[in-house]
């Protein structure tokens, strides 16, 4: 996960040690949480704070884009002083859906490297696929649990070189899959990520086709993981 690592290093002031240090605690992620539900905003905020993250919550995709400086003339410097390391967004929201927000973020040269996680109460495979293909790092089923947030935080902060158990197995599977797949098919949806960040393993693998019969086993294993959630 060298790319993710670089993203994080770039986003932090020089004197802050990154994950070369011992894990959890030395690195405070700033998470932007987007959800139209006032109850869910409160819960996600608490989940993140108890996991030692800084949190900003907004109620809509529009507000999220405003916060990120993507709307209007603000440009890349409008981060409200605090860089965002992760965006967690609800899928079903009035106005702009989480998917639409994801597309806008991944379509922005300024913001596309920020990992985006989608949350949804509905376990719809087509939806999950769509989001992963568009570059979402992860798709969480609501209600989001503490273990989800911990796992997410580990993934975002640890990156490569650290043995994060399940996560690195997951990665290894994908890398093998990528290496062994011969992908002659032209059914691949265009990769939304620029070349520099397409190595982000947990986002949609560009080699996988979206056809149901030949889905990458990596995506299936992620789906299986989602389905096995209690």
């Amino acid at each position: 996960m060298a790319i993710t690592g670089q993203v994080l290093r770039r986003n932090l002031p020089e004197n802050v040690e990154v994950f070369d240090d011992s894990p959890s605690g030395s690195l405070e992620l700033h998470v932007l949480a987007v959800d139209d539900s006032v109850v869910d905003r409160m819960v996600i905020e608490r989940l993140l704070k108890i996991s030692s993250c800084k949190v900003t919550t907004v109620e809509s995709g529009t507000r999220a884009l405003q916060y990120l400086g993507l709307d209007g003339e603000k440009g890349p410097v409008g981060f409200d002083g605090l860089k965002v390391n992760l965006i967690m967004t609800d899928y079903s929201m009035p106005g702009m859906t989480g998917y639409e927000l994801l597309k806008k973020i991944k379509g922005s040269s300024v913001l596309r490297e920020i990992p985006v996680v989608i949350m949804s109460s509905e376990n719809v495979l087509a939806r999950i696929d769509r989001c992963l293909e568009e570059g979402a790092e992860e798709f969480l089923l609501k209600p989001v649990k503490l273990s989800d947030v911990r796992r997410l935080k580990d993934f975002i902060t640890r990156g490569e070189g650290k043995d994060s158990g399940e996560r690195s197995n997951h990665k290894r599977k994908r890398e093998d899959d990528y290496a062994s797949s011969s992908s002659p098919s032209s059914l691949t949806s265009p990769s939304p990520s620029p070349p520099s960040s397409s190595s982000s393993v947990l986002s949609a693998s560009p080699s996988s086709s979206s056809a149901s019969s030949s889905s990458s086993s990596a995506r299936m294993s992620k789906r299986a993981k989602l389905r096995n959630k209690d």
Binding site: S37, V39, D40, M42, V43, R46, S121, P143, L146
Partner: protein, 150 residues
């Protein structure tokens, strides 16, 4: 201290019954895990927010279903929200009615929707009063010098 022990037992038993009867599910436990010394009132706060939000949604639902021409998408949107928030705090029975409610919306079945509205109001008022009782016991326990068993 007899008083504290008694209240603790009362709390544990009452909580267990709420789970057993399906009023609450695992997600409620998750919320309790998010409560600590730095945020000792988290559960009460989020549940209070749920109550407020639910009352708003129930009003919206009643209004939407009173219309001459019912906008089922609007009704569904409110039910979806209600389903989400009840799921987030572990109000299982409310959530279950919401699922049935959404099916009726999809079928554009007015009678089904009206029935579900009554059901969801009923389940909501049940879980509300149960949670209020739960919080009351907790308050008594803390006032007696005890602490909430984790």
């Amino acid at each position: 201290m007899d008083g504290v022990a008694q209240l603790q037992k009362q709390l544990v038993d009452y909580t267990a019954s709420l789970f057993q009867e399906g009023f609450l599910d695992e997600q409620f436990n998750q919320l309790q895990q998010l409560q600590d010394e730095s945020n000792p009132d988290f559960v009460v706060e989020v549940v209070s927010l749920f109550f407020e939000d639910s009352e708003r949604l129930l009003n919206e639902l009643a209004k939407a279903l009173e219309q001459k021409t019912i906008d089922f998408r609007k009704v569904d949107a409110h039910v979806h929200q209600f389903k989400g928030s009840s799921s987030s705090i572990g109000a299982q029975r409310v959530q279950k009615v919401c699922i049935a409610f959404r099916n009726y919306c999809e079928e554009q079945n007015i009678e089904g929707c009206l029935k579900c509205l009554q059901q969801v109001k009923h389940e909501y008022s049940l879980v509300k009063s149960k949670l209020e009782t739960l919080f009351k016991i907790e308050k008594q326990l803390i006032a007696a010098g005890g602490s909430i068993p984790t």
